[in-house]
């Protein structure tokens, strides 16, 4: 199987009796793909992403990423999976406020036990590439939204994950900054990074993704390739 992500018949219930957040979802994502997940609020987009990232476990079905059966990993196995295989960015950045930008970026490498020198080199590259090097010693609260999201991206990429997951990465940003971040993600995809982006914004999806799926009430309502824009 050459798919990087493979979901088979995945169901997720938060309550025993309530309607499931995801209902028999199957999905395959090939390496190098850029997939946008759309759908109304509460349709299960974040749930889907969390299952792929190993932040939560499915109630039924199989989730495999890069050959790992994510639904069967132990807690420790999941933590290792998250730090090695996936990077994730969020709408509200989820940076640690009492650590500097550099320390935020270094954290996953340090948790993974990467040698200090190598981790710093890697972090330095990312700071440069994302144009936030001058903020390395600043605290996140002093940064603009766009800068914070760049820090989050750098942190997600520090361990060179095969898969980058973004949950409404532009949701808390103004339009211009949102587009900047979109471009950045597109560039990453062009350099080979597999990408799954959840977004509300059809424009963004159309512009930066090669394929869009729509979730409605926890089910895949449509799955279509996007025509390359003129």
């Amino acid at each position: 199987m050459d798919n990087l992500v493979q979901l088979t018949d995945v169901t997720k219930r938060y309550d025993h009796d309530g309607t499931p957040a995801l209902h028999h979802v199957s999905l395959a994502v090939a390496p190098g793909e850029a997939l946008a997940v759309m759908g109304p609020s509460g349709s299960g987009k974040s749930t889907l992403l969390n299952l792929i990232a190993g932040l939560d476990r499915p109630t039924g079905g199989e989730v495999s990423v890069g050959g790992d059966r994510v639904d069967q990993l132990s807690e420790t196995g999941l933590a290792r999976f998250r730090r090695r295989r996936v990077g994730m960015i969020f709408q509200f950045f989820n940076l640690l406020d009492d650590m500097t930008v550099l320390d935020n970026i270094l954290l996953p490498a340090q948790l993974a036990g990467l040698a200090a020198a190598r981790a710093r080199t890697r972090a330095g590259e990312l700071l440069e590439a994302l144009r936030i090097a001058k903020h390395a010693d600043a605290y996140p609260a002093r940064l603009s939204g766009g800068e914070r999201q760049r820090v989050a991206i750098a942190r997600a990429l520090v361990n060179r994950p095969a898969l980058l997951l973004a949950d409404e990465p532009t949701g808390a940003l103004d339009t211009a900054t949102g587009e900047e971040i979109g471009e950045l993600l597109l560039d990453l995809n062009h350099s080979g990074q597999t990408l799954i982006v959840v977004t509300h914004n059809p424009d963004l999806a159309a512009r930066y993704a090669r394929r869009v799926i729509r979730l409605v009430d926890g089910q895949v309502a449509s799955d279509a390739a996007v025509a390359v824009r003129p």
Binding site: R82, N94, D98, Q110
Partner: protein
């Protein structure tokens, strides 16, 4: 559909809000209850013992209008007896004499000890038991009404004879006989026995100077200083040299309370530690709840809660679990007091002793009030917040004093090598310095309790060893006694069945000595031995008895712990004495003192002070020839034996018993008294209790911290922190504080130990040898400093595993 409760059943708003707050904070509620429980238990125990150690004596003393001062005077003085100022009541003069007597106990079979006992008694002539001072309580029989009748003091040491027993007074001409017609008790022990005044003259030893007893109550006699001033005024009011001796009631009180009193200071110390810890922890819980609930407070206020209702809501949150803790704590305190109070009640025959009811009531109420007071400042702070401000603060990121610490720990050369979860944990105390300080103090007090208890146990064990001398003298041989005196065991204190009355079947002292020495020489393993003689005599000017211990040879090695001075030089007029002797006679090491008994005098020089509280009884230890000239009854009662290294004490003792035959008894000495075991058990229980309280304080801190940082925990896990790393981080967040608390607490403990032990010694009327005080070895100190770390880790373990198990996705959703 749920029906709305009728208005009468609706809770007031403050109560409803409190209930809402409580349900979300089950751990903190349990922590408050447990901490208050432990503090109440320790304080109930402390106050109960404090009161009970005084109660039996105080009660008897008040009921009998006990004598503040018992004066022994010469007859001339008694004639001139003027009333010194400050006296409120006076009784006597009563003629007094000290005689050696033989008591024939002719009890019914099975009624306790029977046989012939030789002892010394202070006899006083009194026409009636009543009077303005020392109104005696007759506990059995009746007062003497005819010549030949005697009433014995019930609390006199030695076997208690039944009514109808016979006494033979040896010192008096014609060895008169007396019959016991009653038993009486005097709170201060003014005499061992009473006869009619006319009878006393016939009982005096020839040549003994006639003396009399005067009993006084004074207006001011609360302290030793006041009593001493009273005695000085008495001395001034009597003709020069008229006052032979004066005895303060405080000495008798110390003797009566001696068995609990020494333990009271340390139990009070434990109680206070428990109290301080519970206040700290409750304050931490409430300020944590206020910080976490700031937004909720804002919302409550915006819908119309008054500041008073906000304060009430928080106080109710605290007092409900505290009340439960108080009640259970009082019960636990009572249960813990049972072993020690039971022991005391038995020793002093005061029936059952229990924690007084008012203590059971006052302690929980006081602790409840204190708990509420600890909760008040943060609650008032919450009430003062404006609604808008509260809602805004609730949203804002938590106060962060931790930035610099994080940076330092992430970058510093020293800590860069440490795994990241460890440095993350170590930095977190700096984010909330106030809470960290309170936690530090709680752990510090926990370490204080643990270390103090460990040191105390060491000291108590050393005291036990010093008192029993079992290390120096592992084996003692009891010899049957001196048949020529026609008695059983010579000293009254050595109660037990003697030989049959008039029995002459025992070997002579010389024959006994030959038999014992032959057995000791024949038995392999004997290293050294010495003959020991014990007796108790009455000496004018000393209330109660004077213990005499005499050795028939070199006795330096017999294991007495010297507090000061040197051991006496054999063959000289030197002696060593215990602290009660120095106190009672007002002498010091290096002084000479003339002992008088039954018309004999002997001047001795005090070479040293030994550690032997003996329940407050003065004691003189010296050479056999020197002391026998004072007390001809002093006869060898035992041999102290020390063994060659590697000799099995039990086998040696058994072999010796076989060689010596049934007249002799070789005993292996042990150094554990039941009372001491009870105390050591109690110390252990209190130690565990307070260590648990400290751990609960840590648990509370960690739970607060996890609640506040649940979102950060989600982030950490999202970027790949494993459960193990999460636990490491949470535990390290208090480990540094625990270690620091241990290091700070140790010097405090050593100071406390050096303060409390002498106070305990003072209560037991003895100075403490330096070896007992120095309870801590250097390596022990290092180990005990780690107790803080242990307490911190123990408290953090459970919340750390909760943190490791939180679901990442929901933690991230939590705002």
């Amino acid at each position: 559909m749920r029906a709305t409760p009728p208005p009468a059943l609706q809770l007031p708003p403050a109560l409803r809000a409190a209930r809402g707050g409580l349900s979300g904070r089950r751990v903190q509620t349990a922590v408050i209850a447990a901490v208050v429980l432990a503090a109440t238990a320790a304080c109930t125990l402390a106050l109960g013992l404090l009161v009970d150690s005084n109660a039996p004596f105080d009660h008897a003393f008040a009921a009998q209008r006990g004598a503040h001062v018992t004066a022994t005077v010469t007859p001339s003085a008694q004639l001139a007896a003027a009333r010194p100022s400050g006296v409120t009541a006076q009784a006597g003069p009563f003629a007094e004499t000290t005689d050696s007597v033989t008591i024939v106990i002719a009890g019914r079979p099975g009624d306790g000890p029977q046989g012939v006992f030789q002892t010394q008694l202070t006899l006083v002539g009194r026409g009636s038991p009543g009077g303005p001072v020392d109104d005696l309580t007759i506990t059995a029989g009746r007062w003497a009404s005819a010549p030949g009748e005697v009433v014995l003091d019930r609390n006199r040491r030695g076997p208690a004879p039944l009514l109808g027993s016979r006494l033979t007074v040896h010192g008096a001409p014609g060895s008169p006989r007396l019959t016991v017609v009653g038993l009486a008790s005097s709170a201060t022990g003014t005499a061992d026995a009473w006869v009619l005044p006319a009878e006393l003259a016939k009982l005096r030893t020839p040549h003994a100077p006639p003396t009399a007893q005067l009993l006084y109550r004074f207006a001011r006699a609360g302290t030793t200083a006041e009593v001493n001033a009273d005695i000085a005024r008495l001395r001034a009011a009597l003709p020069p040299g008229g006052l032979l001796g004066a005895q303060s009631y405080l000495t008798a009180k110390l003797r009566a309370t001696g068995s609990i009193a020494p333990w009271v200071p340390f139990i009070v110390a434990f109680g206070l530690i428990g109290l301080v810890m519970s206040v700290l922890i409750v304050a931490n819980v409430v300020s944590g709840a206020v910080a976490a609930g700031t937004r909720r407070i804002g919302v409550l206020k915006s819908v119309g809660f008054s500041p008073g209702q906000v304060v009430a809501a928080y106080l109710i949150q605290v007092t409900a679990p505290a009340l439960a803790g108080c009640v259970l704590g009082a019960v636990a305190g009572n249960l813990l007091s049972v072993p020690l109070l039971g022991q005391t009640a038995q020793v002093y025959g005061v029936g059952t002793l229990a924690v007084p009811f008012w203590v059971d009531l006052a302690v929980p109420l006081a602790i409840l009030a204190l708990t509420a007071a600890a909760a008040l400042p943060p609650a008032i702070h919450a009430a003062r917040l404006s609604a808008v401000q509260a809602i805004a603060t609730g949203r804002a990121p938590r106060p962060s004093g931790g930035y610099a610490a994080h940076r330092l720990l992430a970058r510093a050369r020293l800590t860069r090598r440490l795994p990241r979860p460890v440095t993350l944990g170590l930095a977190s105390p700096f984010a909330r310095p106030g809470r960290t300080l309170v936690t530090l103090a709680a752990i510090g007090f926990g370490v204080l309790a643990v270390t103090f208890a460990a040191g105390l146990t060491t000291s108590l064990n050393r005291v036990a060893a010093d008192l029993s001398r079992s290390t120096a003298v592992p084996v003692q041989i009891e010899v049957p006694g001196d048949p020529s005196a026609g008695s059983g065991p010579a000293a009254g204190a050595k109660a037990g069945p003697g030989a049959a009355p008039g029995g002459g079947s025992l070997p002579s002292p010389a024959a006994q000595q030959r038999a014992v020495l032959a057995a000791l020489h024949a038995q392999p393993g004997t290293r050294r031995y010495v003959a020991e003689a014990d007796d108790a005599i009455s000496v004018p000017g000393l209330s109660g008895r004077l213990s005499l211990t005499a050795f028939g040879g070199d006795s330096r090695w017999t294991g007495y712990a010297l507090v000061s001075g040197r051991w006496y030089a054999a063959g000289s007029d030197q002696v060593v004495v215990n602290t009660p002797f120095l106190t009672a006679t007002g002498t010091a090491v290096g002084d000479s003192y003339t002992l008088t008994s039954g018309g004999r005098r002997r001047t001795v020089r005090i070479a040293g002070q030994v550690f032997d509280p003996s329940g407050g009884t003065p004691e003189v230890i010296g050479g056999l020839t020197a002391l026998a000239s004072l007390d001809p009854q002093l006869a060898v009662t035992q041999y102290d034996v020390t063994l060659a290294p590697g000799t099995d004490t039990a086998l040696y003792t058994a072999a010796l018993n076989r060689a010596l035959g049934p007249d002799y008894q070789a005993n292996a000495m042990s150094d554990s008294s039941p009372e001491l075991l009870a105390v050591i058990g109690l110390v252990g229980a209190l130690m565990l209790l307070l260590a648990a309280v400290a751990s609960l304080g840590v648990l509370n801190t960690v739970v607060l911290q996890i609640r506040e940082r649940v979102h950060d925990l989600g982030v950490f896990k999202a970027v790949g922190m494993t459960p193990r790393q999460t636990m490491a981080m949470v535990i390290c967040s208090v480990a540094g504080t625990g270690l620091a608390a241990g290091l700070i607490a140790i010097p405090a403990v050593i100071a406390l130990h050096h303060t409390v032990l002498p106070v305990m010694g003072h209560a037991a009327q003895t100075a403490i040898p330096a070896a007992v005080l120095h309870a801590y070895q250097p390596w022990e100190i290092v180990l005990l400093a780690l107790a803080g770390l242990l307490i911190a880790v123990a408290g953090a373990l459970a919340p750390a595993s909760w943190a490791a198990r939180t679901r990442t996705a929901s933690a991230l959703r939590a705002e």
